[in-house]
Symmetry: D2
């Protein structure tokens, strides 16, 4: 059984990227960077490196520490490298979609790692196929390398810019050729991307803690629409895209990003605490203690406790040993799945009125199990507080979300949700509160509001006779 199916009722980030230029053991450093980004994708990992003469690539399904061995790292030669971790939607974790994608084309070799989702990919793919292109994956990223290979521009940087100008949607991307590393963020800035220095070289990463691990220094975020080029001569920047309104994903602050990250100048930890404080103000309730659903609810629960004076306790313990698969007893044990991951501190909960703080509710199944578990321990009242608004809309910008039908908040009122999860009360943070917590505007909040800043292109030809390839 898959962990995600039975333990983890969350939206999932689809990827993380990192890379570096001008560092001994670049592949090893990239490997460590990927370890820091493991929370952004656990299905597959890959690294491409170069010694300035050619590209070396390795990618496979699995966690970072399983995909790479000493032998593989040693084979990834050179002082420049990029890496990628990937989360995959149910059933689609095929190795052929692992990244970096690496190709040979008329002007040499190029590798790319992509965090995001291209909304006009189907349209572009149909156009490329009509012009004779072949596709070996179902990944939208393969579209980008085709566009690069077909560009008439004279330089690698020119070709990348040319290709990406044709692309809509979310892309924080790192490219590697034998000569240069290029990091680009789409003009809306949907997904994060940061820049740092390591000794004489430069490093990039989806989130800054990857820099901490290797003792690199955070410099600044790559800006929306910015293209950072690093080569032997140093680092420079270009802005090849038309300017767009800033639309950084607000859910990164709610759940995806690490709490020790600072993105867009905002501390994720502080933002989460503030969300907790604000939901406390919006939905106060008399209670004996505030507990988080660990680990993602901890900062918000602290904020809730701070704002109300109700004591914070770690009333649910998270297991460190829950892996992908578990042998379930065939006879029914109630709420089995969530018990593997979370266990209650009974003595703390018995006879108490408990506020439990979580970051979001997707289908409601896990919340229901948690509430039941707390009541089984003797909690007298259980009040669920959610540090974000109801998630009602799917994401098209690089997040794996269920269909609208499966999102409980898309078709149920808060009262109905409270009844379903068997909580005494449920309280969601308002959309205004959320924006206040992350300090102001310029965020994409489509999963809460349905206000999609970039439309999905729908004019895709459907003349193909067969369905796409399936890797087994």
């Amino acid at each position: 059984m898959n962990e995600d199916a039975f333990l983890d009722d969350h939206f999932h980030d689809q990827c993380g990227v990192c890379g570096g230029f001008g560092a001994e053991e670049a592949a090893n450093l990239t490997y460590l960077g990927l370890h820091s980004l493991q929370h952004r994708g656990q299905e597959a990992a890959g690294i491409a490196s170069s010694d300035s003469r050619q590209l070396f690539v390795h990618r496979a399904n699995g966690l970072v520490q399983d995909v790479f061995t000493n032998e593989v790292i040693a084979g990834l030669q050179g002082d420049r490298a990029i890496g990628h971790v990937r989360y995959s939607t149910a059933g689609g974790g095929h190795i052929k979609n692992a990244q970096p994608i690496a190709i040979d084309y008329q002007f040499g070799s190029i590798a790319v790692g992509h965090n995001g989702n291209i909304t006009n990919a189907d349209h572009l793919r149909a156009e490329l196929e009509a012009a004779g292109s072949i596709f070996q994956t179902t990944s939208d990223t393969e579209v980008v390398v085709h566009l690069i290979a077909r560009s008439k521009e004279k330089t690698t940087v020119g070709r990348i810019a040319d290709a990406l100008r044709r692309v809509e949607g979310a892309f924080s991307m790192v490219f590697l050729t034998p000569d240069e590393l290029v990091a680009v963020r789409d003009p809306w800035g949907f997904r994060p991307l940061c820049l740092g220095t390591f000794k004489d070289g430069f490093v990039v990463s989806s989130e800054p803690p990857a820099f901490d691990l290797i003792t690199a220094s955070y410099l600044r975020d790559v800006e929306p629409g910015e293209m950072v080029i690093v080569d032997r001569t140093g680092m420079r920047t270009e802005r090849p895209f038309e300017k767009k309104p800033s639309n950084m994903c607000i859910f990164e602050y709610v759940y995806f990003a690490r709490p020790d990250s600072t993105l867009g100048g905002v501390s994720v930890y502080e933002a989460r605490k503030e969300m907790g404080r604000l939901v406390a103000k919006e939905h106060p309730v008399d209670a004996d203690l505030v507990i988080p659903v660990p680990d993602s609810g901890v900062a918000a629960a602290l904020g809730y406790s701070n704002a109300t004076g109700i004591p914070f306790e770690l009333g649910l313990i998270r297991s460190h040993y829950v892996g992908r698969t578990f042998i379930e007893p065939s006879q029914s044990i109630r709420h089995f799945g969530v018990r593997l991951k979370l266990s209650p501190v009974r003595d703390l909960l018995a006879g108490k009125r408990v506020i439990v703080v979580d970051d979001s509710i997707v289908r409601g199944t896990t919340s229901r199990k948690i509430v039941k578990m707390l009541r089984d321990c003797g909690a007298k009242e259980v009040h669920l507080r959610i540090s974000s608004p109801p998630t009602r809309w799917p994401c098209f910008y690089g997040i794996d979300t269920p269909s609208r039908r499966e999102l409980i908040a898309s078709s149920h009122s808060t009262e109905e949700i409270a009844r379903y999860v068997t909580a005494d009360t449920v309280g969601y943070l308002s959309i205004e509160g959320l924006h206040q917590a992350v300090r102001g505007g310029g965020y994409c909040d489509a999963c809460f509001t349905g206000n999609y800043p970039v439309p999905l292109s729908t004019d895709v030809p459907a003349h193909k006779k067969s369905l796409p390839l399936v890797g087994v």
Copy 2:
């Protein structure tokens, strides 16, 4: 590189045991119980089961979820089973020492899982060898099965009692024969052992959360010196040992046990919070925030915060993805190891006076790295508070501790330790405070005081020509 060597400067519990009698899918339930006890031993795991006609056994090196597959669980037939997880001292994780040990002898088959350490094992082993016994492991537990096989008693229970009366030291043990499950706790009660019910049957476990996972109900602790026998006719109890002063391991409350356990009627979580409150009173200091070393320091840090009003923050984030091995860069990255496991929330720490709460200091190497990491983030002051007294003495009762020489507190004053770990101040909880936190007497505190309730037998003959067997 081994996690324990570079990430985890702690004492280690050597084992956990559990079992059940009278439950369909007994092996599967035992497997889940072992999952709940995984923190007590990550080197090896095993289960013995019986269908009332014969014993089935499987044991191997690895985590619980790696050792057991669907096929193996299906092969462990019957409605009764015992299980064991094992931590192993450096270099000695040989499969031949995995448990349960299972043997055939003149009256049938018997399997045993042991949490503890027999202090007169060498003496007994020499005696048994002189009488013609052979040893296939280096485990002290093998001594016990030999004593059972040589007992003149008429019943299994009689033979187990007979054997254990000859044994000194710490033993919480579960035995399985085709007919009965026997759970015994040594007369000093060093290591925990709990009893529960599951439907019509009975279950035992080192700690109660194993019951929660399978929806069994906690009944009571097995008492020091008690032998609980479960067979088809139900559960009964015997007290085959001379009474001894109670000496439950106080370190279980400091670090080993799960925070959601209640042992000897004392909530581990509450005890840890109280330790934090008391160390706050004993070693107050003016500061901006209190942070725990996660996860073991969380409850104590909450207590510290409660007692002082200094805000609690989760200033260090623990990675969920640190496994056994990691490819290290050959060039030196400072404090590399601990960075893989813990990362600081920079924005929280910069310019702050920080109290960091940990449960213990063994060698001091990890504390030193943590303090350095906090200072690198800009912490203005770092005050280390330890929720237990200085650990100065090795344990002979089932805990893996380094030699005295390696225990920093055995040869250094608190001031010297503060200087070594580069903290502004270090404050340890007093031994009186620790006893107060766990409510009164009857605890073994030898690792802090050197007051060993059971002496190590030293009259071991040394006539053997060769060193013991080594498994490769």
Copy 3:
């Protein structure tokens, strides 16, 4: 250490292909067919299948029985499938070059397995890259799918024919789309390809024994230049290529093909026996016994014995347990490698004049070790007879051969070779004898004569800055 490097001094076939259309469990039958073709490639294996709606693909490094599990076979749905086994040159066994290659393009999906080598691939690749194509492998087969995707023809069959008309060299290929299976053999007929029937469906394979295993019936060879198309309406044939002189690889009879194969109407076993008879006539010598180098030399040694009356004995025993890797003692054991694979029957050899029959000599290193081994057993004389002419030229048509420099016969006379391998005499079959043994003309014998029927295209542009991609 690699088996091929130290145990097996042979030319190696680079691939085998098979497939079927119109059979329940098509993937399972293809898997068995690949097992029969395992001798043609041990590095990687793959299968593509279809249920008429889409393609399913699995490929990986390893032997057929390791690459496929029950789960994988079950996932390869449908009643039509193609399969491929691959041998890979030293160090280049990257999974990205495993086949079948499967792509999506404007008219649907197509998969291809290729046995052979395209001599103008570099030229075509450069042309395709100039037109904007990207390459994800270093395989010449990827060139063909690009040409298909860019063809203006209206049907799959038309596009395949269009693509292959541009291609020179050796190609026995099987294609699969959701609707049809296409098997093509290049107009020179370099590599074998056979056609059979299975119940109501059709099957293809590099060699006929794959049919025997699944109880299919051999129908006929696919002819040089023939394209066989199988779909729902049955089987039909096209001849899209300009006619070329027949150039079936003569080395298939010498070594590559299975002895139980019949190719081009000639029994491989009988051809090898005849080679043995003819080398006996060309190079007679008085001796006590004739022994083969097993297994490839057995039939020729029987022929030698038949022709001369000198008794045939199995004087060298071949181990069934030699795998890919072996731990070698660091101290030198003479002729270690070959001893793992072959061992002499001492009692048979002592004091005897021995004729040892092998199929070919590549570098001479293995022959030298075998002669030494026989002399160590007391053989009085050792006469080496080779059932083919000296191999002096590399192959460009799908066989992995060392460079000319490494081929001992390209720079040494037979007498020099005898001296190097320490044999009393060495006798090679003449080129006329070889042609006589396989009954007449129409064979490519370039590895013996240097008469290459299709030239290597050399007009490849070298404007790329970087070397091709390397998979790690």
Copy 4:
């Protein structure tokens, strides 16, 4: 599915042993020796070594080259070692029965590898259990180490002799202590054991080809009842047993031993050829060709051909790639199993009268499939000749044989067998012919005659309540 169940209808040797004293890299040499003995046991392998101070042991299920890695071999330190390969009866391949067994006892450590079967093991085990011994395996070898540990003798050699004097049945054993290697063969000499020299040291092995592989020299067979002791002072011999009539297993010559072995002064290859010659004389038939069932029938088929002048051909090809498991198609393919392993050379067989020579018939199922396969190829007549008498009785001396009921010859006449296997005629070698082929007397032929030289002890107490332990 298990190979043995569906591909291999043979008796199976249960073990092979080897060892050496006084050689650098003793474990590596022993590993190579085990590779040479792999045909004697494919289920498990193990090595014990010593550096004169202690014993190092590794054993596991699998083939020799899978069980040992470079790390394991490096850990098996010292200049002395013993090794063991093990075949295991259906379903019983538990690691706990892998050898060498290694124990600590009052006088140090000792390891043992055993080829054979102790006929009074149950009796001795009951006696030992009654005296308080425990058993951790179901192996009869564990009985021997108990007897050693309980012996009153003063020296290791004395204790081994003391223990083995109490034992009946078949035992070729190698013992290792830190100080000495002891090789013993039971007084009947059931199983082979050979002695050789390697540089300044001594080596032992079940069969001599293990010496060839490591370039050791064969010295002589260990004699029945002989105990060879090797220590720092060199090699010496003792004869601790009462003399018994020689009873070397005659089936070693028929099938078990390697054809390149010489045992008891008799070449296995020559003996098999002679068996073929004699069965030709006893059961002549007019035919076009003689073919062996490879590999075991090759030498006998050559003998048959020599005696009759009917040409020898390799009409059945054996696959090198058949491993343990295979995915079978669910729809029935006739005679599937044997087709994976053997395939016919069609052109050779069509229209021919074929004599097929095999070494034995156990259940008859494989013979039936082979005859069918030959007829499917168009063979006009099929005459089966067996180079040994009908196998009618189970073996109690170290060979895995089915029960009498399963042995087709125990309840069917030769004519009935011919009808079952659908051969035109079947001819078995007579028992006199077999003895003539291996030159004279002193052999155990109980599997053919039921004349058991050592009776099975049957006075085993059955007072135990439970069945023995089962490893899962």
